[in-house]
């Protein structure tokens, strides 16, 4: 009845508690990431290697069964379960790295460039929630691309067991994947986000991350092989990741050295990145 006022109105609805704010940040970052055609393509394409590895695993299994019936044939094949590792490291690392490059590397530098700190911190968003909102999306996407396919393969391996005892033993592939996945995700997410906090040019940061990742890989393994210095491989992030994976799955590590060295490098990398992020954020200027 009468004429309504269509203008600015007060808000009288409910307010959600501050402690859950990180969910808003993460869900927004995920939807932004998914909106990118490149990210979508990478994740979808990343599912294919698992399919191929699955098929190979099946045939390997069958071959081993046949060979078992002919003990004279001097061919030895390693356990098809090792394909789980082959997949999660050798196949998926490329997709995981692309995700890290597209989502993690620009995460904070874009905010610096567009002045978004003022947007976030003038609101009830704590710096820890902000950081979680930057790291978690990449970590989750990397998990999807690495843990997902690998887990399926591990389950397949369990399924292909011929006896209950074998199935029980093959459970290590599943458990190993569940343990390895988070390590993988952290190593690919945290350092990239930490780098992102150092500047405002996303392109340069992506370049530095790519260089840091691949050049250390080439140099590390190159020197280790060429100069016969296995410890040189420790400078390469992917190599450390590989060795830790092999350790978790109970396989022989690529280079002969105590387990705590590659593990230590990764822990230092992740912890160092976290510290750098916390330090950088403390010095954030919201209002100039």
């Amino acid at each position: 009845m009468g004429i309504r006022d269509l203008g600015y109105k007060p808000y009288e609805g409910e307010l959600l508690p501050h402690r859950n704010r990180y969910r808003v940040l993460i869900s927004r970052a995920m939807s932004l990431a998914w909106a990118s055609g490149l990210v979508k393509t990478t994740i979808i394409l990343g599912m294919f290697p698992a399919v191929i590895c699955g098929v190979v695993m099946f045939f390997k299994f069958k071959t081993i069964q046949i060979l078992a019936q002919n003990p004279n044939v001097p061919i030895r094949l390693d356990d098809p379960g090792s394909l789980v590792f082959t997949c999660i490291f050798w196949c998926q690392i490329w997709f995981a790295f692309v995700i890290s490059l597209l989502v993690a590397a620009p995460a904070i530098s874009e905010d610096v460039r567009t002045g978004a700190f003022q947007f976030y911190f003038a609101r009830p968003v704590s710096k820890n929630h902000y950081l979680l909102g930057k790291v978690a999306p990449t970590a989750l996407l990397v998990l999807i691309v690495s843990l997902g396919p690998a887990l399926l393969l591990a389950v397949l391996r369990v399924g292909l067991s011929q006896s209950g005892g074998e199935a029980w033993r093959n459970l290590t592939w599943v458990l190993g994947t569940l343990a390895y996945g988070p390590v993988y995700a952290l190593v690919l997410a945290l350092p990239a986000v930490a780098l992102s906090s150092l500047g405002r040019r996303s392109g340069s940061i992506q370049g530095v991350w790519a260089a840091g990742f691949f050049i250390t890989w080439l140099l590390g393994e190159g020197i280790a092989a060429g100069a016969d210095l296995p410890y040189a491989a420790l400078i390469s992030i992917p190599t450390n990741l590989r060795m830790v994976g092999q350790l978790i799955y109970g396989m022989t590590p690529a280079y002969d050295m105590p387990w705590y060295l590659p593990a230590g490098v990764l822990v230092a990398l992740v912890a160092g990145s976290a510290l750098l992020l916390l330090r950088r954020l403390e010095r954030v200027e919201v209002f100039s």
Binding site: G7, Y8, K9, P10, Y11, G13, E14, L15, L16, P17, H18, R21, V24, L25, R28, L32, A35, E110, D111, R113, T114, G115, A116, Q118, F119, Y120, F121, A122, R123, P124, V125, S126, V286, F287, S288
Partner: protein, 307 residues
């Protein structure tokens, strides 16, 4: 009480004394925050939002202690920054809805408010386009919208008319002056454009070198001079000045052509009009002489400098 600061000091890195013994007690309303560059205005705002701890002293805003209840406080405050501020990849509706959600609004309410607030600032037609494609004026409006989406009790505006052409500036000031009436919120306006501050605010805080030089009503800051009037005539002001001097007034001609006429004791404006009519001069402007905020600003700072 809108906010209260008690003996607040802020020292950066042990050397830069950004705020010195700041004590302020300010009621709800529209307040201008003034001061030369480097006076400590942004430090003050950061401390009031709980983003920066004060080195010493107590800060209470909207009833919350800024140091310990910073999150609750920021939920009730809206900030419109001076510089570029947007989230890459979002359009206006998404950005405002995100802003609302970050303040605790549930997703649906946030989206509803986003649309309403974008209509209020006049961006309905462009709301589905990415904010990075907007012109300066449109970006300014989005900044205001995102500050309003959670219906704040206190609005902090930093140079809101930056980069706007005259029409845009007018529209922005109209929007801003409407808010206290509609919502009953308080506004703190930080700006170098003193006429903007005069249009929006009733009181002001003047900072210089970290200290409060003035805090109170703008009319008090300006001061009116009793019995002195600013007079402009269409033709020859000097002639009128001469005539008035003969009547016992003191009349000084300023270099923009206006006269400052000081009436004798017990005199009133009748004498000015009568003499002008007799001399066939048209009085086109007559008001009690008021300082502009600008001259009050300069006077107060120079006074402090000499003190």
């Amino acid at each position: 009480m809108l906010f209260e600061l008690h003996d607040v000091n802020k020292i950066y890195a042990g050397r830069v004394h950004a705020l010195r013994d700041v004590t302020l007690s300010v009621d709800e309303g529209s307040i201008g925050l003034l001061g030369p560059n480097g006076a400590g205005k942004s430090t003050l705002l950061k401390i009031m939002l709980g983003l920066l701890p004060a080195t010493s002293g107590a800060v209470q805003v909207l009833g919350f202690d800024a140091a310990s209840r910073s999150l609750d406080l920021r939920q009730k405050v809206g900030y419109m920054p001076e510089q570029e501020c947007y989230v890459a990849g979002l359009d206006a509706v998404e950005m405002c809805a995100y802003a609302g959600q970050l303040c605790g609004l549930p997703a649906k309410d946030a989206r509803e408010r986003a649309h309403a607030v974008l209509a209020f600032v006049g961006l309905e037609d462009k709301r589905y386009m990415k904010v990075q494609t907007y012109s300066t004026g449109q970006k300014q409006r989005v900044k205001l919208a995102q500050a309003l989406v959670h219906d704040p009790e206190l609005l902090l505006l930093d140079e809101p008319t930056n980069g706007l052409d005259p029409r845009g500036r007018d529209e922005m000031l109209t929007l801003i002056t409407q808010l206290p009436e509609r919502r009953g919120c308080s506004i703190i306006l930080s700006s170098h454009l003193l006429p903007d501050v005069e249009a929006v605010c009733q009181s002001a805080i003047l900072l210089n070198e970290g200290q409060v030089v003035f805090s109170g009503a703008i009319s008090e800051m300006r001061g009116e001079q009793r019995d002195t009037y600013e007079v402009r005539v269409k033709e020859d002001g000097a002639r009128l000045a001469g005539i008035l001097e003969q009547e016992g007034c003191r009349a000084d001609v300023q270099h923009n052509g206006a006269l400052w006429v000081h009436l004798p004791a017990g005199g009133d404006t009748d004498v000015i009009f009568r003499k002008a009519l007799e001399a066939e001069l048209q009085v086109r402007h007559l008001t009690p002489l008021k300082q502009t905020l600008e001259s009050a600003f300069v006077r107060l700072l120079q006074g402090q400098g000499e003190a």
